[in-house]
Amino acid sequence: MKTLSLIAVVITGLLLLSAVHDFPDWADPESPASDYRLSQHYITQTFPETGVPNMVTAVLADYRGYDTMFETVVVFTAGIAIIGLLRRSPSSRNKDKGKATRTYKKKPDLIVDTTCRLLIPIIQIFALYVIAHGHHSPGGGFQGGVIFGASFILITLTRDLQAAQKWVPEKRILNLAGIGVLLYAGFGFACMLLGDNFLDYAILHKIMPATPTEARYHSMLGVEIGVAFTVTAIMFSIYSNLASNGEMKETL
């Protein structure tokens, strides 16, 4: 089996390498991907059209908003699927196998505990900064959401799952994840209700005190917050379910 797969891998690799010749050179400004008018349009027209200096954010949340919405739905679905697969009540473990019950109780270490008490608020504020400042610097809903989720994972790691669940109980996780997707879709449907295409934010200037350009700018922040809600909730949910074997009682 191993030799067979090695042969298959080598053949695939050689086929791919034989195609390398046709690719453009490294960092070639004339390469088709960079020379094509789509890329040029994004670079030159993003700021005049949306008022966002960070092109990545503008392309993510505005031009390719439909794609990003369903990426958020994928994250949401994966999180729900993990809960569906693993979640079980803690009582079922005892009849499953009694030997697995751990007896040790984790003592919170003074240095670790104090350091995390100091660090976690800073991590969370930084996460909010990354979300809110995604228009002007590298950042956005996905990145900020992951950082925010990581702060809860840090609480779980250094103390225990109960401590983290005080802030994000399971019910709140599901609510947050759903609210995030709905917030994103809500911006899309608001555009439709006002008579434009789905996620075509410019029309929202009718209900916002803003010009069409500013409406796109601010709507992008709105959908980024939606993405951040979902990603935060699902990141913590994935970790807590995997680490506690679906029981949400105690982690590794």
Binding site: Y42, M55, L85, G145, I238
Partner: protein, 155 residues
Amino acid sequence: MEVFDAISAKFNYWIYIIIMMIGLYAMMSKNNLVKKLIGMSIFQTAIILFYVSIGVKEGATIPILYHEQVHPAHDSGHHGSDTEHAADEHVTAHATDLHIEPDQFTNPLPHVLMLTAIVVGVATLGLGLALTQKLYREFGSIEESEILESIKSAK
């Protein structure tokens, strides 16, 4: 030397193919399901490297406009609703004659695609690990051959 030049001009593709094949080999040959998932992650990293390396341009910077391009004359009045409105109108008025050179910034599109791919990759990796954990609960093993064996013997 000619061969070396041919490779070094396109070294990003060589690296991505090598990493991708390591991942593919791990996915195909490893018996342990967690190792298969590690292989999947390596494979995914290769795709991300491939996309991001396509977006690179010689002498270009990250696709975020310079502060001077956004706030050309003066950087005042970005606080408070009235002054902000006036400032933004000023920016929009300036934007029409704003000259942005496409060669100055890297291609933003691959960055966007990979940004979402990374997060979705984490979510799918989590799903894969959850499935592995579920299999371990059912069969008491994460070795593919042992799982197949116990499915066969159960029939």
